[in-house]
């Protein structure tokens, strides 16, 4: 049972344009959502997070939007840069498992072309 799903395995975007990465979830007990970025041969690195009581969180070029009714979140990167090319993972934690257990999606590989 995949509780966190990223249905697009890959996304290609032109430099300077907006990248939108999507994530759907099924568990209504999730209370925090996080995005991680992963370069080849490196571990995932934390990018941005959002609480389930919010609908938007912004950090520089990165904005995460949460639609609780649709159980959907998205990561917007504006403007996209070639260095943003990586695999992006959506992750969630629930109120009973905040101690290090994150449920990850399968990842979306973003390619930003110059």
């Amino acid at each position: 049972d995949q509780q966190v799903k990223q249905n697009s395995p890959s996304l290609s975007v032109q430099e300077g344009r907006i990248s939108i990465l999507n994530c759907d979830y099924t568990n209504s007990m999730f209370d925090y959502f996080l995005w991680y970025k992963k370069y080849p041969a490196e571990g995932p690195t934390f990018l941005i997070s959002i609480s389930s009581i919010k609908d938007k969180n912004e950090d520089g070029r990165f904005t995460v939007f949460l639609n609780k009714s649709a159980k959907h979140l998205s990561l917007h990167i504006v403007p996209s840069q070639p260095g943003d090319s990586a695999v992006y993972f959506c992750a969630a934690s629930d109120i009973y498992n905040q101690g290090g257990k994150l449920i990850f999606g399968q990842g979306t590989e973003l390619s930003v072309k110059p």
């Binding site: 996080l34 571990g43 934390f46 997070s49 290090g100 990850f104 999606g105």
Partner: protein, 119 residues
Amino acid sequence: SAVISQKPSRDICQRGTSLTIQCQVDSQVTMMFWYRQQPGQSLTLIATANQGSEATYESGFVIDKFPISRPNLTFSTLTVSNMSPEDSSIYLCSVEESNRGISGANVLTFGAGSRLTVL
């Protein structure tokens, strides 16, 4: 944030053998977490390693297959026992860092991972 070193970074192993992965953190942490990423799949928590007590395993993972040691607050090992090709994965060590995200969201920092290929 914490710096996590893992060894080996990659290895090719024969079926039926065992391999131990080491994880070193540059600061003392109460809990360390071992994740697995099978090819094309999401990251999945294997177990939580607490210093001074038995590791806590997630559903689908057992101590006989993935024994874990936690001798001190900066070090842990994960052994993958009696390996089969299905164990070919990236194994990642992580620690929790309070409040790197928004208040209440504890963020995990990961090591670079150990990529195991089992022939």
